[in-house]
């Protein structure tokens, strides 16, 4: 007789001393792990719920400005530095790690309209309502010394915005005209016009660094090339665009924040129809900024909320709001892709997490592995109705909810009206027009 029985030596299965780790032999045979699907589903459901439980996006409030915050300047090299400008002409430089203002000076009479850091981060350029461009050093002056700009340029035209070239030492301002400046000269090296009285905002393309885009008061978006004498092309929307941001990774795409509560993403090569319309805001969108990954962008609105969108999706993935936050004027996404800054009318700069439920601080490898596993589960079961419902649900302020209802009613009414007109018209007389085509009026070359 040959006989063998399962006879486990406890030494192989029980730890010897309490200092050792428990021995956990694994056997991945599917037969020993029944009900795989339902258990995974429950785990995904729990992960989704926990995601909402831990969604506490607000990090801190940076207070110090004595008037509404008008614009942001992101330091290209230092993550912990942020420059903000206010309606009273004051510029503040913040140390974000310590949540303190490390420097402040009155740069302009009236509004600070725009702040831009030079490509290497050693200089700071501001424009204001007093028609001046001021160049400041990134270094704070010695104690006891006055804050003095390195250079002050008096412009002939009103200035509304500034953008610095990412590679070269040139920058562009907008206002009555689009002017390209060099840091060596006090006169613009080039001015570009296209029969428009005011250009609100200007932005250099981060990759093709000679290309510029402006938003104008005649509801148009104008593209320039700084090497050419004439503007490139112009696309006119139904309403005015407030801000423009280039996608840093797909630099042929840009997104504009529009007065009609929507954001429009355009492909530069195909301006006739927007790539995507981003809905969900209930009031004019004031600012937009891309994440450095180019996958997402953040927008701020007059409806006192900040929303985060996937670059290729129509509806927002998240909404941030607080009781005290008033009309949000400017917004920025930090260059490490983890934080969002919003500046609002009530003089505060707020710092938010880009991912609302992200855990800050040190994450140990096992914790990291668990987070990754939960992410994978959430993605796998995202289409299940219960999980989808929990993941999508957001508490929004009452005024936003009411406005959403009102907008929906208006939209429904318009649709009904159109359907009725179509019903009582000759066939083909009232064509079906897609939403994307409704908002672009014309394109000029």
């Amino acid at each position: 007789m040959k006989v063998k029985m399962i006879s486990r030596n406890p030494d192989n299965y029980v730890r010897e001393t309490k200092l050792q780790q428990h021995k956990l032999p694994r056997n991945y045979d599917p037969a020993l792990h029944p009900l795989e699907g339902p258990r995974e589903y429950v785990r995904a459901l729990n992960a989704t719920k926990l995601d909402r439980v831990f969604a506490k996006p607000f990090v801190c409030n940076l207070s110090g400005h004595r008037d509404g915050v008008s614009c942001f300047g992101k330091h290209p090299k230092l993550l912990s530095t942020l420059a903000t400008g206010a309606y009273d002409g004051e510029v503040r430089i913040w140390d974000l790690a310590n949540r303190t203002s490390i420097r402040n000076f009155v740069a302009h009479d009236g509004f600070v309209r725009g702040i831009a850091y030079a490509g290497n981060g050693d200089r700071l350029l501001t424009v204001g309502d007093d028609k001046t461009i001021k160049m400041w050093s990134s270094q704070a002056p010695e104690p006891g010394e006055e804050e003095e700009p390195i250079n002050t340029i008096l412009s002939r035209h009103i200035l509304h915005g500034i953008s610095h070239n990412r590679r070269e030492n040139s920058f562009a301002t907008c206002g009555e005209v689009c002017a390209i400046w060099d840091d060596q000269h006090n006169d613009p090296i080039k001015t570009l016009k296209w029969g428009v009285d005011t250009l609100h905002t200007i932005s250099y393309n981060p990759v093709e660094t000679t290309v510029l885009a402006c938003c104008a008061s005649d509801r148009s978006i104008i593209l320039y090339d700084q090497r050419e004498a004439q503007p490139l092309r112009k696309v006119v929307l139904t309403m005015k665009s407030n801000k423009l941001a280039w996608n840093p990774m797909e630099a042929f795409n840009f997104t504009v924040a529009n007065e009609d509560c929507n954001l429009y993403t355009f492909d530069t090569r195909q301006l006739q129809t927007p790539l995507k319309i981003h809905f969900d805001h209930v009031s004019a969108v004031t600012d937009v900024d891309y994440a450095p990954t180019g996958q997402e962008f953040v927008s701020s609105s007059y409806d006192k909320t900040v929303r985060i969108y996937h670059a290729h999706q129509s509806h927002s993935r998240d909404i941030y709001h607080t009781k005290r936050m008033q009309h949000v004027v400017c917004v920025a996404w930090s260059l490490d892709n983890r934080y969002i800054f919003s500046g609002s009318d009530e003089m505060n700069v707020r710092m938010w997490k880009a991912n609302a439920s992200e855990k800050l601080g040190i994450i140990r490898p096992r914790e990291r592995a668990n987070f990754n596993y939960q992410e994978a589960l959430k993605e796998k079961y995202a289409a299940h109705p219960q999980i989808k419902r929990i993941a999508r649900h957001r508490q929004v302020p009452r005024h936003v909810l009411n406005a959403q209802r009102k907008m929906r009613a208006v939209k429904d009414k318009e649709l009904l009206k159109e359907a009725n007109v179509r019903r009582h018209s000759k066939k083909g007389k009232v064509p079906y027009v897609s939403e994307k085509q409704k908002h672009v009026l014309r394109q000029d070359v």
């Binding site: 007789m1 040959k2 006989v3 063998k4 029985m5 399962i6 006879s7 486990r8 406890p10 192989n12 299965y13 029980v14 428990h22 021995k23 956990l24 032999p25 694994r26 056997n27 991945y28 045979d29 599917p30 037969a31 020993l32 792990h33 029944p34 009900l35 795989e36 699907g37 339902p38 258990r39 995974e40 589903y41 429950v42 785990r43 729990n46 299940h384």
Partner: protein
């Protein structure tokens, strides 16, 4: 510049800068391959341009890079891959866009990699399964328990023991990790102990009839079905709870992943008690009368109840009708069991038959049938697929569920057989051990069955060596992952599948079309300002809108109906085209037919 050799001396030795001897002129012409002119100053590597870059296809056979650099990874056999595989890959041919096609193909590569990694862990398993081989001219069936115990190591031999107990027919349960044993005597005796170390946790008499006992999710708590109600006790025998909503319970079972205690009572009620929240999630009459045989299917949590009419019905707590019924025997059933993998259902009836059914397919025909001399009164299947069955005091085991032979057949002898001193009332294989526990009318026997249990446990699932801290942590994790009772369905993978309508649902939807009623329309006309029509006009407008919507609906349904009918006709015509139907000619009847002899009809009526 080369030196010329002086006269009278030998040629100077060859230098590297001289033309190498023995090499052809061609070799020397281009000693170094120069970079192109515009690349000469560049020291680094040139990246291939996008257009030159050949797109890598997702082809698993194609080796990437040179194979010599990489350590050789041994191939995994197909059987092993099949064991860990979760099914075939999705066919990407049907996917329309390239983006999603590539996404799917990439996903499949990851899945295959995961399967492969899981299969590779087989190498790390520490134990091998038990086995018993007979010598020449001997059979394993001939071996007695004492002989086996004498031939194995001391630790294993200690697993063979017998308990003589006085409180009459006993039922028994092992915990899920196979470490603890619970015995319940009909005449009130309840005992819980760690059977490996033989350490008694508690022993007491409830002074009432005990119908069944069952461990709960942890080995510190168990339920006892007593004469009137079900009681919960802890490891030390303290009464924790009395569930008065479960009355006159015959059978208890526990679904560990759902935290449900399933109970079947003598009035034919099936009840599911969620032990984590203390609520009955399902409690209804099955209409089967006194339920005597009940087991749950471990792979999907469905309760299999064997009735007195030879029918096995499968129940879920949230559905008041059986999910499926199988007519297994023409007589009353005597026992049933489901194998731990949830593949086979084994039933035994008074007709002395034992049948093995495929419960994933639910066919009419059993996979295997064998006849016994006496009806089997207890059945159980081990983790590695061994079948044990008892007939009165006699019990035998077979190595495979499908290969169970009939008693007395020379060529199909059982693997092991045993005669107990009293009739068997409970029979369970111990998980993760080569042990079969048998409870009889006057005691308990622990029998050695080499090769029955799974040798390698997964410590995060069931751990026989768990400490109390580990047990507590496991309990918390298990509670967080508690599956809601709504997910108990016949197919456990339903939740991960695509929710496509079945053929039956499609047919029903088509049939519904012919009985659809127009929906009720409620409209609230806008209140118009004074002078723009009164209530009469408003009512008329309302009626107009209602009529219009009704008309639209009817037109739509009519169109759909026409489509269905056209499809049906087309199909019928197609069939007719293949096999032209011959119209049966009706026989011409005449008044005189009544005088013909009615042979056929008469014969039928006689039958």
């Amino acid at each position: 510049m080369t030196k010329t050799a002086p006269k009278g001396r030998k040629k100077p030795p060859a230098r590297y800068f001289d033309v190498a001897a023995g090499k052809s002129e061609d070799d020397i012409a281009n000693p170094i391959k120069l970079k192109r002119r515009n690349q000469q100053n560049f020291k680094g590597d040139f990246l291939k341009m996008q257009s030159h870059y050949k797109k890598q296809k997702f082809d698993k056979k194609k080796p990437t890079g040179s194979q010599d650099d990489k350590p050789k990874v041994p191939k995994i056999s197909k059987e092993l891959m099949d064991k860990y595989s979760r099914g075939d890959a999705v066919d990407s041919r049907g996917i329309k866009t390239r983006h999603f096609k590539e996404q799917q193909q990439r996903k499949e590569i990851y899945l295959e990699y995961a399967t492969e990694q899981a299969a590779r862990t087989e190498l790390l398993l520490q134990e091998t399964a038990g086995q018993l081989e007979a010598d020449a001219e001997e059979t394993t069936a001939g071996y007695r328990q004492e002989e086996i115990a004498a031939n194995v190591d001391l630790q294993s031999a200690a697993k063979h023991f017998a308990l003589k107990l006085d409180f009459g027919p006993y039922t028994m349960r092992y915990t899920k990790n196979g470490r603890h044993l619970l015995l319940g005597g009909r005449r009130g005796h309840v005992a819980a102990f760690d059977w490996v170390t033989k350490k008694l946790h508690c022993e007491f008499n409830v002074m009432e009839t005990v119908a069944d006992v069952q461990w709960l999710h942890v080995p510190t708590m168990y339920a006892v079905a007593q004469k009137e109600w079900v009681y919960f006790y802890d490891k030390k025998g303290t009464e924790l709870h009395c569930v008065k909503r479960l009355t006159r319970v015959n059978r208890l079972d526990f679904l560990p992943y759902h935290f449900l205690l399933a109970a079947a009572n003598s009035a034919g009620y099936a009840s599911w008690l969620d032990v984590s929240i203390g609520e009955l999630v399902g409690n209804f009459s099955t209409g089967l009368g006194d339920i005597r045989h009940m087991r749950h299917n471990p792979s999907n949590g469905v309760l299999c109840i064997g009735g007195g009419k030879g029918v096995v019905s499968m129940w879920s707590p949230k559905v008041r009708e059986p999910l499926a019924t199988i007519l297994c025997h023409s007589t009353a059933m005597t026992a049933l069991t489901v194998d731990p993998k949830g593949m086979h259902l084994v039933t035994a009836g008074l007709d002395r038959m034992v049948k093995v059914w495929d419960i994933r397919n639910l066919n009419d025909t059993p996979l295997a049938t064998f006849r016994l001399r006496l009806p089997a009164n207890e059945l159980d299947v081990s983790q590695r697929g061994m079948l044990a069955l008892s007939q009165g005091t006699y019990l035998e085991t077979y190595t495979d569920v499908l290969e169970g032979g009939g008693t007395g057949l020379r060529d199909k002898l059982p693997y092991l057989r045993q005669r107990c001193d009293a009739s068997v009332h409970g029979l369970r294989f111990c998980p993760y051990e080569d042990v079969l526990g048998v409870s009889t009318a006057n005691g308990f026997h622990s029998l050695l069955v080499p090769g029955a249990g799974e040798p390698n446990y997964d410590a995060l699932e069931d751990n026989p060596y768990e400490t109390s801290k580990q047990r507590r942590e496991h309990e918390v994790h298990a509670l967080l992952e508690k599956i809601p009772p709504e997910l108990i369905t016949l197919d456990p993978h339903e939740i991960t599948g695509v929710d496509a309508p079945t053929l039956q649902e499609k047919i029903d939807a088509k049939r519904q079309l012919f009985h659809l009623k127009p929906p009720r329309i409620n409209i609230n006309p806008r209140h118009k300002m004074k002078g723009r029509g009164g209530t009469a006009k408003a009512a008329r407008n309302k009626q107009i809108v209602k009529d219009m919507q009704r008309k639209d609906f009817i037109a739509e349904v009519r169109k759909a109906k026409k489509g269905v009918i056209a499809d049906h006709k087309l199909k019928n015509d197609g069939d007719a085209g293949q096999q032209p139907k011959v119209k049966k000619e009706r026989p011409v009847r005449s008044v005189l037919d009544r005088f013909k002899p009615k042979q056929q009809n008469q014969q039928k009526s006689r039958k």
